[in-house]
Amino acid sequence: MKKTGIALSIICATALQGIVLAQPSGKEILDRIDRNMSSETRYFKSTMIIHGARYSRTIESQSWAEGDQKAYTEYLSPAREAGTKMLKLEDQLWIYSPGTDRTIQISGHMLRQSVMGSDLSYEDMMDDPNLAGKYDAVVTGSESIGDRDTWIVEMHARVEDVAYQTRKLWVDKSRYVPLREELYARSGTLLKKTELSEIRQIENRWYPGRIVFKDMLKKGEGTEFIIEEIQFNVDIPEHLLTKAGLR
């Protein structure tokens, strides 16, 4: 009886040790996501479907990005938006409108406005993706989303100048790609929710093919972002990521 008890204790201790070892820290998870998803440069063609209260709109665009500080997007359709270009250079954002042949900088309160009527604001696009530098990440549990097991990573801001006090990430345990993200206000109110799905392997990374953004305070079905085509580490013409490239 005594031997059985000791054996059970050893088995339990070993199993627990295994679990503890298998569970990476919040920071490790964020680093793994970064390694999986970021690249030096990338090109992607996408379709954004904005579900309004009465009707939906579809906007096609193509984008080039260098790291997370420089990005250039050109809208392809519908005809009304075609030719509109957007350039992000670090913390500045410009939009070129072909109708007026003018380039304007989006700043101040304009950053709070929605991008093309979607659930995304310009400041969401400007949000610094360097989460590890601003948040303390803690794994608080695990949960299944569809047939995938995920870690729940809760992030609390450790600096003051962040847009969201708390973030929650559901990260695929084996692919290290987030499947869901929730953004909370200081008061704990859920403000925004992002669902990532249709995860596919591109080269040696796992990447979502469909992202749904939802402003939780607003009525509507949210905004779907479908990545039609994506290429990593592509050559980007030098002029494209400059203001001159907008015209």
Binding site: G108, H109, Q165, A185, L217
Partner: protein
């Protein structure tokens, strides 16, 4: 005196023609006084309303605050200066904290200005006594314009999202505890008022304000470092400019009417001098100097304006007094330009407007009467008596 008697007789002799000219001139008198009185009344009311609802007896602005540049709102805040802190605690000055926010009425998204104001203030007519907190819910006030655009009713709960001093999002529900009607759109459209202390807590700006509105009888320090005082001249500049523009536009109507009346006087004078050459020749041959005859005809023309003044007094005084009592209803949407406007404007007829109008019509009538009469000074009296056209 002879000139006046003669002029009066001649005008009365002309009958209907004189009456028509006098009538048109009298309408000019009444219309000019009414229009100017209306704009003065509007200005008078708008200033009084703005003092009651928006500007008080002047305002201190945090040095970075620019009401026309929302980019400045995030940084335009500072602790209420110690020089006026006591007055603020007594409600004699009203510190206001301003921030941009987003509301979600019925799930729609709408950008607003969130304004924090002390509940116990006595400076502005905003009914802050209705900002009564219950069960940790933030009480809020909305004007009728705001309530209409966001479809709000008293007792409604509204979700508000804002960013604090560090730019971090926060959100909470507020309860509309009062809807007020104000003639000043600047305190109503696109904004919601909440208690100052709660807003300071929400924005993590304890004891801070964006602007401070002064009440009556408050002794203000001349200069406060970091704050700029805006007096009435500065705060009303936009209103005055707008009313001046509207007044200039409105003056076109009565200037056309006045021009028509003056043209009629001018024509009458030309015709008189042409038809009454023998009379002119007789006056000169009887010993009147040419200057006296010119004066006689000028007085005759000017007398139109004097008779018109009498006629205008007969029907104009009761009419203008009636308008001054009942006012004139302003069309809906007048305040959509952001200009303060009551539902009814009571005209205000100042002595300056009345005197100025009388002088304007008298002088212009005298000038147009004199211009044709100058021809008399070149007339040959002998040929004038013979009736020869000169």
């Amino acid at each position: 005196m002879i000139a006046f008697k003669l002029a009066y007789r001649n005008l009365m002799g002309a009958g209907l023609r004189t009456f028509l000219i006098v009538f048109i001139l009298s309408v000019s008198y009444v219309l000019i006084i009414f229009m100017n009185g209306l704009y003065q009344g509007w200005n008078h009311h708008a200033r009084a309303d703005m003092i009651d609802w928006e500007v008080g007896q002047g305002q201190f602005w945090q040095e970075q605050y620019d009401p026309y540049d929302p980019f400045t709102y995030a940084d335009a805040h500072a602790p209420v200066p110690p020089e006026i802190k006591t007055a603020a605690e007594q409600g004699r000055v009203a510190p206001i904290l301003l921030s941009q926010a987003t509301i979600y009425p019925e799930g729609r998204i709408q950008s607003i200005k969130l304004k924090g104001i002390a509940v116990q203030q006595d400076v502005l007519s905003v009914p802050t006594d209705k900002l009564v907190a219950e069960d940790h819910i933030i009480p809020a006030l909305a004007g009728t314009r705001m309530a209409k655009s966001a479809r709000l009713e008293e007792g409604d709960y509204l979700l508000v999202r804002w960013r604090d001093v560090n730019g971090t999002f926060d959100a909470a529900e507020v309860k509309i505890t009062g809807i007020f009607s104000s003639p000043v759109p600047a305190v109503d459209a696109g904004q919601i008022w909440i208690p100052l202390d709660q807003m300071q807590e929400m924005l993590q700006m304890p004891g801070e304000a964006t602007l401070i509105v002064s009440g009556k009888g408050v002794e203000l320090p001349g200069k406060i470092p970091g704050w700029e005082f805006r007096d009435h001249d500065f705060l009303f500049a936009e209103l005055e400019a707008m009313i001046k523009t509207k007044s200039t536009g409105g003056s076109i109507l009565y200037l056309i009417l006045l021009a028509l009346a003056l043209l009629a006087v001018f024509d009458t004078q030309v015709l008189s001098i042409f038809r009454r050459q023998r009379e002119i020749g007789t006056y000169i041959s009887m010993g009147m100097t040419r200057r006296q005859v010119v004066g006689l005809f000028t007085v005759e023309g000017t007398m139109h304006a004097i008779l018109a003044l009498a006629l205008a007094a007969v029907y104009g005084i009761p009419l203008l007094l009636w308008f001054a009592k009942t006012g004139l209803g302003m069309p809906e949407g007048t305040d959509s330009f952001g200009l303060a406007s009551a539902e009814r404007i009571l005209p205000y007829y100042s002595a300056a407007v009345i005197t100025g109008t009388i002088l304007l019509i008298m002088i212009t009538t005298t000038i147009v009467s004199y211009m044709p009469a100058r021809k008399i000074s070149k007339m040959n009296p002998t040929e004038a008596i013979r009736g020869k056209i000169q």
